[in-house]
Amino acid sequence: MRDAFSHNLVQAAVADPRLLLLTGDHGYALFDEFRRVCPGQYINGGVAEQNMVGVAAGLAKGGFRPVVYGLSAFVPIRVLEQIKLDVCYEQLPVVFVGDGAGVVYGQLGSSHQSTEDIAALRALPNMAILSPADAYEMTTCLKLAFEPTGPVYLRMGKADLGTIHTAPPLFDWGGLCQVRAGAGPVAWIATGSMVTTALTVAGDWPDSAVWSAPCIKPLDAKQVAAICRQHTAVIVLEEHSVYGGLGSAVAEIAAATAPTWICRIGIADRFSERCGSYAYLTREHGIDAPSVRMQVERFLERAGCAPPVQQVGSRQAA
C-alpha cells in the first residue's frame, strides 16, 4: 500500500507541478522516488508541524496543491487547530496524509499511536476522510484526494496486510465497496486494516456481507441505510476509538433512518498501557480476529441472530 501511495503521489506530482509535498522530517524511505523524480516539489518543513500546516495553507492560497505528510499522531492530531482554522475554514485544497494510524507503532507507545484522528477530523466542517484498506483502494483514494475540492485527510494504517481487491475499485466520495456478497442476517462494514480482519471473521457467518468503507467522510447515508435494512445486525470494525469513528458514523445514520443492531468494534476508551508488537496490541485491545469473533458472537446472541458456524481449524488459524 505504501508503494501504491508513493507511486501515485509521484505520478500526480509529475502531472501537476503545483503539487508540493511537505513533510515534517518524516517518511525517509517512503519519499525516495519522489525526491528523485520531483526534487523541486519536495519540502522538508523540519520538526515544526504547526508551521508546516500554516505554510501549506499559504501555499494553497497562493495557487499550489500541498500534500502534508506526517505520522497520524502528529498530522492531524498535533496540528488540529491549524487544520481547522487555516485550512478547513477556507476550504483549501490541502491533502493531509497521516501514516501509521491506529496502533501500528506498537512498541513506541501512545505518542506515536493515533486512535482519535477520525473522531477529531469528522467534526471539522469541509474535511473529507479517506481510509484505504489496500493498495488498490489507495489508488482510487488518491485520485479522489487530488480532486481540487477542499481539505482531505488520507488515513494510512497498517500497510502490509496484503490486498483485498484485484484492481482499483470504483467508488466515489462516500461510497462503500462490497468485498464479499451475502444476504444473511449479518453485515460487516470495516475500514483500513480491519477489512482483512472482517473478511477473516465473517467466514464464520456464512452468507454474511462484507463492505469496505474507504471513505469515512462523507459517508453515503443511503447506502449505509440500505445495508442496515437488508441485515438484522451490522458489525462495524475499525482500528480507532469506538467513539467518533466509522462505527459512530454508521450508528448515526442507522439511528436516524434505519434502526438496527449495530455492533461497534474498535479501541475502547483507553490508551495502550504496555509495549508490544502490532499483533500483541491488536490482541490486547480486542481487535484481533479471535477477540472480534468472541465479541460478535456475544453481540449477535443479544440481537437474536444465529450463532456462527464452527469451522474446523478456524480458531487455530485466527
Binding site: Q50, G54, A57, G58, A60, G63, L85
Partner: protein
Amino acid sequence: MTQRFDSTRIRRTILDMAYAGSTVHIPCALSIVEILAVLYRSYLRLDARDPRSPTRDYLVLSKGHGVMAQYACLHELGWLSDGEMQTYFSDGTRMKGLSDAHVPGLEVSSGSLGHGLSVGVGLALAAKRRGTSQRVFAVVGDGEANEGAVWEALMFASHAWLNNLVVILDANGLQAMGSTTEVMDMEPLIEKLTAFGFESREVDGHDESALCRTLDELLASPDPRPKGIVARTVKGKGISFMEHNNTWHYTRLNAETYAAAMAELTPREAAAA
C-alpha cells in the same frame, strides 16, 4: 482633504466601530494604526477594484485582535461601506471581532494566536516559487510571540530565504493579563529576530516617517534574509486614558468614554480649518 489612511481618521473609525458594536480589544487596534496606515498608503500594491487580485501584496494580520484597524483601512479603500462598518460585531454580519479571511481584504483568520505568520510564510513561499515580486507584510503581536508556532515560522522563513517577507512585531508591551515583561519576557526582541535569521530593525511604531525610512531601507536591501521590524508602540495610542492602561483590553466604551476619546482625536480637517 487629508491624505489617505490618515491615522487620526483611522482611530476615529476604530472608536466608532467599537462603540457601535460595544466591543473590547480597542487598544491593540490603536497600537498598529501607523503601521497599517503606512503599509496601505505606500507599500501594499493592491488592485483597488479587486481585493482578491492574485497579484496583490498581502497584509497578514496575525494578531487578529487588532482587526478594527484593518477594517478601518479596508473602509478607506472603499472595500467596506459606511453601513457595514456600523454593523461590526452584529448578528448575521460578516464583521466578526477577529480577523477573518472570508472578508475580502483580510488575508488570514486569526485571533487564535500564532497562526497567521505561518500562512504568511506560505504566501511568501508561493510568490517566490511562482517567481512573482509579491510581498507579504505580517503584523505579529508581542504577546502573540509567546506562541511557539511564531518561532517555527521565523525559522522556516529564514531557512527558505524569504526576503519578500516583512515581519512587523507590534511591541506594545502589554498582553491580555499584564505587561509582556511580567507575563513572558521575550526581550531583547530585535536580537531574537536577528538570531532567527532576519535582517532586523527597531523603530518607533507611531512615527510614520521613521516607519517609512525603515521599510524603504529593508525593501531595498540586497540582503537575502527575510525582514524583521520591532515596532515599539503604545497600546491604546492616541487616547490618553487608554494608553498603558491594560484594563482597557477588556473594557467597552460607554457614551461618556466614547465622547472623551473622540474629543482627543480632532480630525485634521477641523484642526486645519
